[in-house]
């Protein structure tokens, strides 16, 4: 199953299994709260992480909670568009896939005649911790 998310300029697809929870975030400070295990959330804006020009001025955000070994990463997006149960993403062409730096994009899925890039959201979350 894929989750289709929306930043200010783009849509992306992520595997549902990689996301522990979806939260609505009214204020950025909410992200500093701890989860039930006492681990803090690390909040990261997904749009500018993928494209520096993709910045949001929305107050109300949606957070994709991606659990890593020691921390939860909350990747903030403008909206969660939809869930697609039977999606069939295609791998990216090798000519492009081998050149991606960082290699966060792993495929693409055609939705309403538009290609949506599929992200390895766990890898994005890992990288976000290092930034």
């Amino acid at each position: 199953m894929l989750i289709i998310i929306r930043t200010t300029r783009r849509r992306y697809a992520v595997r549902h299994d990689d996301v522990a929870a979806l939260r609505v975030v009214a204020r950025a400070e909410d992200l500093h709260r701890q989860d039930v295990a006492g681990r803090p959330y690390v909040g990261v804006e997904l749009g500018p992480l993928l494209d520096p020009a993709d910045r949001s001025d929305a107050q109300r955000r949606h957070a994709l909670i991606v659990p890593l070994r020691r921390r939860n990463v909350a990747l903030l997006v403008d909206a969660v568009d939809t869930l697609i149960e039977h999606a069939a993403p295609q791998p990216l062409p090798s000519l492009l896939r081998d050149r991606l730096r960082p290699p966060w994009a792993i495929g693409a899925v055609l939705i309403n005649d538009q290609l949506v890039v599929q992200l390895d959201i766990r890898e994005v979350a890992r990288s976000a911790l290092l930034l």
Binding site: P93, L95, R99, R101, P102, A105, L115, V117
Partner: protein
């Protein structure tokens, strides 16, 4: 070449009568079937053996982390193709797409890709006798992508080496 999409199936048939070996040296044949394209104010040619389809430019999907020469992807009949900005590959400056911009689907061995070009001029057969060696004074960074050069309709036309473009796109870091 004014239609929205132009497949080269018909061209390939005609090509088979005029080109005994699509990869042979142009000088060995009487005619050389090419797709003429424009980049900036320069005219280049693609061997029709490499060309699959020509389509109008349409917005492509950017891919995070992609290099400027391979800025995104497009779906062509259900197949995902990488976009290749041919201006940047040849060392030209980037330019906004216009109504004349086209996506030329080309294939080399197992690699299929959509070349973004400023315009498609014509599909034509050029006499092999008009082709000559690439001028040694040409910038080596660009000359590596050229197989041969011709003078056609008062213009210099450089035949692009699609195999070299693929090889360089694979190797560039």
């Amino acid at each position: 070449m004014c239609r929205h999409t132009h497949t080269t199936a018909g061209v390939a048939a005609r090509t088979s009568t005029t080109m005994t070996n699509s990869h042979a040296d142009p000088a060995e044949r009487a005619e050389y079937d090419v797709l003429l394209i424009r980049l900036d104010d320069e005219v280049y040619a693609l061997s029709s053996a490499n060309v699959r389809e020509v389509g109008r430019y349409r917005q492509f999907t950017p891919v995070p982390g992609a290099p400027p020469t391979l800025p995104g992807i497009v779906s062509q009949r259900g197949v995902i193709l990488p976009i290749v900005d041919l201006r940047l590959v040849l060392g030209m400056s980037a330019a906004e797409a216009t109504r004349a911009s086209r996506l030329v689907t080309v294939v080399h061995e197992e690699v299929e890709m959509a070349l973004l070009v400023d315009a498609v001029i014509d599909l034509t057969a050029m006499p092999a006798a008009t082709f000559g060696p690439v001028p040694p004074a040409l910038d080596p960074a660009r000359a590596r992508f050229l197989r041969t050069v011709a003078y056609h309709n008062d213009q210099t036309v450089a035949l692009l080496d699609v195999g070299e473009i693929v090889a360089v796109l694979r190797d560039w870091t």
